[in-house]
Symmetry: C2
Subunit: 375 residues, 2 copies
């Protein structure tokens, strides 16, 4: 079997590495010529359009998946008409658009924060009343790591933002828009105590397995650390997280790994967003679980039985963002450095360190030791 | 860093898969066009000679290693004069020649069975007296899995073999020789209770780590099952096995993974042979240990710190030889199937199954369950 992955970054790269021991071959498709996945699998290098190279890529593989949710729908459509694509087009349709995604969660009974659609000056001002200040305004499509987002914490900031985005008679201003997107979602601020994420997997006959939810910490808007299982998570919340994930998996007739982020608040869980793919907050599972997220994603889309997701111990994933770690970390007990084969640049994810320990106390000590070796 | 591996079979393949997470790139060199390693890394396809393709292969990689011990010495010499080659030429010099290898063990104080050189009719008949009947005659070079070997269990068989190999005035007969090799070693039969092997690793600054010795069972002369740690191994024998391995590592100024096979007899340990490479009897370490043999081999030759070799549990490696295993084995707890991407043919190693368990009793049950799924 040959699997084609849309996207040749570190996620596609790690899918290939995890799938090779299963006897599966991989090709990656990416517009960037030096995509790091190209170091471990054949890279088809062309724009994300229905190019001749894409047609060749589709011809030469049996099953398709993607490493990022912004795959153009027409490209997904081209593939779906010819070969299996997992998790599929529905997952893309919802995850590419923050309003559709939010409404889907509402329909499934998954708790969301108050939100409102904004596409002109009037709806922006109305949103401030409906969801309340403070709120955050996000483009409905594109944007990540805080890009295309605005915080509104006062009436003054609201007027300022209205003038910036919709200055002329309430019309959208192309120059100040992010990536040309003029449709927004206003979301009420969530006062959360921590972020949790859950990785789940569904196979082609409907079996679902779940990884332990992780607790995630960010630095400068980028994931810094995930700890799993999330400490002090009540059985009730664990059951809720799995239940919400299962609803979404079934609603989307999903095949593969699904990631959902939640906020834990004093009033309970509130969903943030989902990603129809393997996720940075699940990288700890590579050594931390009997079967890692990458392998289980490949098993699911290849029609193979899912692997057991039991934890080997408590685990952490420490992201290497714009920094490397000293090689001496590799000699630490049950510390596993994964490098993505990328040059180091500010804010760029160049690798991660998986850390296993007997208990949370030892885990924290090892995290501190790794932290001291990051340079 | 780019590592070039001589040989593109499953061992080279698994080296690449283990090295990719370390950010290392791989190329494999193999005369066979459809070598299974070519599915996961670039394959340089040409004979094992100093070809133009070999020169290109050497130019395009930084460090070299091999997946089999019969690398022609002139080819090793070509590389050594230009780039680092690990474990190096010395390891090949001894492991390619059974007499040199045996003498090396004698010099290092590692117990060997009685042996004698045979290269004509007279020395064959003398050997029968020196080492005693029964004995086994092996070509000094080449041969594996019983090829190029003869058992002599009586005077009649001795005469027969003498007539076959050295019929004319004691001269060697080319037609009946194996692969044109006319030099032999006669080895006294070893009445062993079991075969043990130990995998060890030495890095570029002389640090050595050891894996738990494994107990190996063969079927039709091919490794069938390895169990690690070898059950009921005395502390004294464990210390001896590690001590012998360390002597050999240091004598050869070795870098990388070294495998040594021993017979356990009523009178103690007797060495069988060593292989200067990752070894089938160490495959259980991929999931069974904190750091597997393939990753540690790559760490060693890449100049990185060695990883911890502690066991995660008790483990077994079940070889898939000429048979496949039902996909349902993948759903078993802590059972990991590794396929090599090869077509199934009689006696061909097409994959292996790593099995982890809490204790030997559970391990045996899981081995039996896997066995029932092999078809």
């Amino acid at each position: 079997m040959k699997i084609g992955v849309l996207g040749g970054g570190q996620l596609g790269r790690m899918m290939a590495i995890a799938g090779y021991p299963l006897g599966i071959e991989f090709g990656l498709y990416d517009p960037t010529q030096d995509s790091c996945g190209g170091q471990v699998a054949r890279l088809y290098n062309a724009p994300f359009e229905v190019t001749d190279e894409l047609k060749k890529f589709v011809d030469e593989h049996d099953v398709f998946t993607y490493e990022f949710e912004n795959v153009p729908l027409e490209l997904a459509e081209y593939i779906v008409q010819r070969k299996p694509l997992y998790p599929g087009k529905d997952a893309l349709y919802y995850s590419q658009h923050r309003l559709r995604e939010k409404q889907l969660f509402v329909d499934l009974g998954v708790p969301v924060t108050r939100f409102s659609k904004v596409d002109d000056r009037v709806s922006l001002l109305d949103a401030a009343t409906e969801v309340g200040i403070p709120f955050i305004l996000k483009t409905t499509t594109l944007g990540y790591d805080g890009k295309g987002q605005y915080r509104v914490t006062s009436e003054a900031e609201l007027s300022e933002l209205a003038d910036k985005l919709f200055p002329e008679m309430g019309e959208a201003c192309q120059e100040t828009s992010y990536a040309g997107v003029n449709e927004y979602i206003a979301e009420a601020f969530v006062n959360f105590t921590r972020e949790l994420s859950i990785i789940s997997v569904r196979d082609q006959v409907g079996n679902c397995v779940f990884y332990s939810p992780a607790e995630n910490d960010h630095r400068d808007g980028i994931l810094h650390l995930s700890v799993a299982p999330a400490p002090n998570l009540s059985d009730e919340k664990l059951a809720n997280l799995q239940g919400y994930a299962q609803k979404l998996l079934e609603k989307l007739n999903y095949v593969g790994v699904l990631s959902i982020e939640f906020f834990e608040t004093e009033d309970g869980l509130v969903v943030n967003e989902f990603a129809p793919r393997v996720h940075n907050s699940g990288h700890w599972s590579m050594e931390g679980c009997v079967t890692g997220q990458f392998e289980n994603h490949i098993r699911a889309i290849a029609g193979l039985p899912l692997g057991v997701t039991d934890n080997r111990s408590v685990s952490a994933m420490y992201n290497l963002v714009g920094h490397d770690v000293d090689r001496s970390a590799m000699a630490m007990h049950d510390v596993h450095v994964h490098w993505y084969g990328k040059d180091i640049k500010p804010k760029r994810k160049v690798g991660h360190v998986n850390i296993l320990a007997d208990d949370y106390l030892q885990l924290q000590q090892k995290i501190d030791d790794v932290d001291a070796l990051v340079k």
